[in-house]
Symmetry: C2
Amino acid sequence: MGSLSLEMDFEPLPMTPRSLAMTPRSLARRRLFPNGENKKQKVAPPGAGPRKNLELEVMEPGLKNDGPSLDTILVNYLDTLKQRVNYHLGYPVNICYDHYATLAPLLQFHLNNCGDPFLQNTVDFHSKDFEVAVLDWFAQLWEIEKDQYWGYVTNGGTEGNLHGILLGRELLPDGILYASKDSHYSVFKAARMYRMDSETINTSVNGEMDYSDLRAKLLQNKDKPAIINVTIGTTFKGAIDDVDVILETLKDCGYSQDRFYIHCDAALCGLMTPFINNMISFKKPIGSVTISGHKFLGCPMPCGVQITRKSYINNLSTNVEYIASVDATISGSRNGLTPIFLWYSLSAKGQIGLQKDVKRCLENAKYLKDRLQKEGISVMLNELSIIVVLERPRDHEFVRRWQLSCVKDMAHVIVMPGITREMLDNFISELVQQRKQ
Amino acid sequence: MGSLSLEMDFEPLPMTPRSLAMTPRSLARRRLFPNGENKKQKVAPPGAGPRKNLELEVMEPGLKNDGPSLDTILVNYLDTLKQRVNYHLGYPVNICYDHYATLAPLLQFHLNNCGDPFLQNTVDFHSKDFEVAVLDWFAQLWEIEKDQYWGYVTNGGTEGNLHGILLGRELLPDGILYASKDSHYSVFKAARMYRMDSETINTSVNGEMDYSDLRAKLLQNKDKPAIINVTIGTTFKGAIDDVDVILETLKDCGYSQDRFYIHCDAALCGLMTPFINNMISFKKPIGSVTISGHKFLGCPMPCGVQITRKSYINNLSTNVEYIASVDATISGSRNGLTPIFLWYSLSAKGQIGLQKDVKRCLENAKYLKDRLQKEGISVMLNELSIIVVLERPRDHEFVRRWQLSCVKDMAHVIVMPGITREMLDNFISELVQQRKQ
């Protein structure tokens, strides 16, 4: 096999009917109906449109039902997931949540942290105490005083990006959004939603922002303020844009502090870099930082943390008497379970536990990279990254089996805390085997 | 006590330090630290800013901890919630979820329905089969063919509104947003986020859109397309804007079907009206319908369902190879648990069960209204509504105890499926007692 081109090309491997048949939905369906009850299953031909014929539907109690019961469907679904845990290598999520049994009783209620976490509601079914505890912890991690910050637990990294970029736009209404082409796609989605002008900045081969391109574009648009999305760990290559270089570039180009806003998308790495260096710090003139809570830390459902400066938030607040709260969030009604899940995990693990996780993941990523290199497989690993980029395996079933994420001719493995050396060894040996065929 | 003015005035009752001390956060804290461990608790004086001194924080394992353990905090929190269930009258959520024990094992995994529900991901930890089953059920309820609709399970009603209004704006880029002043606040938030011009339409005393004001404003802005938010059940008074009258008004004012877009915010009532009349139907020229899943049906965390026409969605889709999906959602990474919770509840209850719930809630609302009227308390109940609006009780502790939602001089009780006659009787007798003091 040839060497890995880290520049993207535009020839993704074709999807065959066979590979489509191995999609997660058909896999799941196979497990849901394991005993030949799968007669109606059809494989969608490529290009036949997105809709597939599904077996699973909402049932009506009292009507005749030839298929499995609700509980059988659930048990089969859970069994499939259990079997697939050891083959989850391509996505930046902690796939298992250790404290689920302890926290399960929360599910008997509806918990809703509607509106501002710092203001009281007139209803008891929320977890804002837990939420503020979590926010305080992150504020300390990112070096901002309790009385200086505002934030909330979001539904995920995208909501954090939507919120941070909206803050920037409200502060600098004619600002241009600058984001590298390796930024998360939600950043460009935000520009479109918010009707903002944007500039896409090139990246170097490792995925990091090309600062000379940023400089050129900042100079071209000097008459307008700059809203910059800084990615602390790109989704595919794990590259970290250097906040300090970006701040220096802004200064060099004549942008004073009242003419720029910096949002840091630290989805995966916001919980890692603080244990390595002080890259993310509100002592620097940054406006907001967001992380995903379900990534490095882990949570059964997507969530995130968004922290900004308290002085910025009044711009967004609208007094809504209905919920007796000033709402400066994107989502209004908010999940009340996730703050408790985050609080519990952070408290059980602690900074010391997280630091250990970071160290082990970095070592395991280095181990994977070295082993793959020894096998003659092209591979790349950024500094301070746990994302090992490798040439895309040709066999679709292998890619699906290991749940790899692929872009063009590349795949990656994200060496998350739950991934063991044993899993990596199994992966390597199967990959080597597969390449011989 | 005087009669209830259903027009709003602008003199909310003042917040006293005592009433602040009864906020849910201080209530919760009291339970969290029940044995005099509450020394540090301070009551924020009115106007002292939003930040309160909280006792709860993230702990660091290994460090000395004089307070209660993680598990003790959780148990106390759960105990408080259990005690407060019978006093939850003011909010449109089904506060208890019957099937939590069955579904709790799902919490051991991270489930993420990233991107489009109809397209496969390259990872197994999702519940898109369940999600599509739920969407199909709602499509049938609102009369649109499987191959004609697109939708997804959202994080709540707000995301549905953000999505529906964005669809309208993308189809009609210079459209003006029309929404009644009793619309949910997320509708006006959307206009601001999306940089859309908007017109606020007056409402009649019962909370319903004032169609003559709509007509006047449509005629004023005839050169621009109209994007109309129709509220099927306003948050405070439960009023239903009449889609048919609005469609007639558009026609009368000379708006052809390619020059308007209708989004229906049916947060609470979208699951009720179909069992009473066919108000919501895609056989009419409407563009999108959203409901909240945690309201009439119930779910441990906020969620919703958004359904639109498949032909509209391509405008929003962006191909993102990273997640091997075309993403036309707002939130990207999406909660994979909520579709399973919705699927289970819908299947366990069925249309027949929902219909029974609707009937019982309407009867109970009528019962509450009649009883209050007999006691000489001013009260209002819209047709087909389960929201009983009454004069705001003067005692803040009473309002907090019953978790009532208040706007100006009004309060309301939302007679949800979980609310029994016994709870209503207790409420009435306490209210009558309190008014004598």
